[in-house]
């Protein structure tokens, strides 16, 4: 049972990394970015390339992979997302999905379709009450908590953070105070994409790596954002971990039903609390 909890928290942490960016993009630009997990996938593939080059030094390679993904997310924001401000849902869906099509195909082209194996970079276990818990997974959860605290500080203490919080509530109000909000939203977008890449990089050693990995986790991230509330930072944190637990517990009793259970929760939430886009 403890294992289930640890696994639940691990998945929750990864979902949190990915969903933060999605939630902020939803909340600020009102754009549903179907290409969001492209940076997730690209971060992973950058990782496996660099790991082959620099054997060992996982932490360094991980950070490098995340940084490499940043220019790509900037290009996506500049040429696609920015044009989608205020657009209706169907066009943002098509355009961002098209971006993801292009990206996934590019990955298939360069790296091929076959899954890459990768193993736990730490490989050590913590002895806890007679159970051995993988340290790596615990580390992921700790990083997630650190990130949560960092983001909270950012949004509460820095002026940029406050501008974004204000703009999430009243974009026109901020604009009428002379601040070019779109510029800050772009920064938020790139930040969110980098975090998604971080999630991918951290999860890669304990998951299966293939070009479509982004798509499968994208839908789950949507569920997290819907349940947690768009643009709601604390809500996203809680719902990520809650849904991670839902998945872990469901997987224990009903292995194929894990993802579906998440969707059932999302459907229930949507029925009682419809969102407004």
């Amino acid at each position: 049972m403890i294992y289930t909890i640890v696994y639940g928290f691990t998945i929750g942490a990864i979902l949190y990394f990915i969903s933060i960016g999605l939630s902020l993009t939803f909340g600020t630009m009102r754009v549903i970015n179907f290409a969001h997990t492209l940076t997730y996938t690209m971060g992973v593939y950058a990782l496996i390339t660099l790991v082959a080059l620099f054997k060992g030094y996982f932490a360094l390679v991980a950070i490098l992979s995340v940084i490499l993904v940043i220019p790509i997310s900037y290009v996506i924001e500049r040429f696609v997302i920015r044009r989608l401000y205020g657009e209706s849902l169907d066009y943002t869906f098509i355009a961002t999905f098209a971006v993801s099509l292009i990206g996934v195909d590019a990955i298939k082209w360069i790296w091929g379709v076959n899954p890459y194996p990768m193993s736990d970079p730490i490989g050590k276990y913590l002895m806890f009450w007679g159970l051995s818990l993988p340290i790596y997974r615990i580390l992921i959860v700790m990083i997630a908590i650190l990130l949560f605290l960092a983001l909270n500080t950012f949004f509460k203490k820095t002026i940029v953070g406050k501008i974004v919080v204000a703009a999430l509530e009243d974009k026109d109000g901020v604009r009428c105070l002379g601040i070019n909000v779109d510029k800050y939203f772009s920064i938020v977008f790139v930040l969110g994409s980098a975090l998604a890449a971080l999630g991918g990089v951290l999860y890669a050693p304990i998951s299966s790596i293939h070009p479509y990995m982004g798509l499968s986790i994208l839908l789950l991230s949507f569920a997290v954002v819907i349940v947690g509330g768009m643009g709601n930072l604390n809500g996203t944190f809680l719902s990520a971990f809650a849904l991670g637990m839902v998945m872990a517990i469901t997987a224990r009793y009903w292995s194929q039903g894990a993802e579906t259970m998440v969707f059932i929760v999302m459907a229930i939430v949507l029925i009682f609390r419809p969102i407004d886009i």
Partner: protein
Amino acid sequence: MLEIKNLDVAYGHAKALHDISLNIETGQTAFLIGRNGAGKTTLLKTIIGLLKPLKGSITYQGNEISALSPEEHYLKGLRYVAQEKKVFSNLTVRENIEIAAYASGEPVDMALDKITSIYPKLKDFLKTKAGQLSGGQRQILLVGRALVGEPKLLLIDEPTQGLAAIVIEEIVSILSGLRDKVSAVIVEQNLAMVNRLADRIYILKEGKVAREIVERSEISDTRGLEEYL
């Protein structure tokens, strides 16, 4: 100072303003009155750049501004206070002013001093989350935000709507203290306020200017104005 000529504004295919023309001199306070739906809010939103006109021109201090964005309008000294009384509710009063000061370049403390000198009671609320303020306090915060930096033209939409009489009185006194220093275009239903502060009045009806009043004597004729509300 502000000159609007033959302005047409539409939402999608529905025209909201037809051939609007009006004129404000520097230091004047003009009021827009009219029934709900007459187009007053639309007009203010177009002046500040949230809406773009189909045709016509808006000239401010000699320059055509209708194509500019709200951010650019701000830098020219125009300030907009919307009807909905939306503050940044998750931020404190102080932080609301911080954001207002950000683009203007004015130091936050200077901005705070300026506003608390106009409305000293605000000093007690600096650390309160703006969402917890009462309607009247919010309105004062919004006017305060608009006064940061060097405002030249205030565009205020129904400042006294839904407020208690005491609060209305406070707002009227703040605004009258600003007369001659700052120009203003104010949308209002409260005719007593109009009477006290107006230098000219524009009456809007169904998207057109029904009447322009520039004479002091006509402004005091509140009964004549009531029929337009």
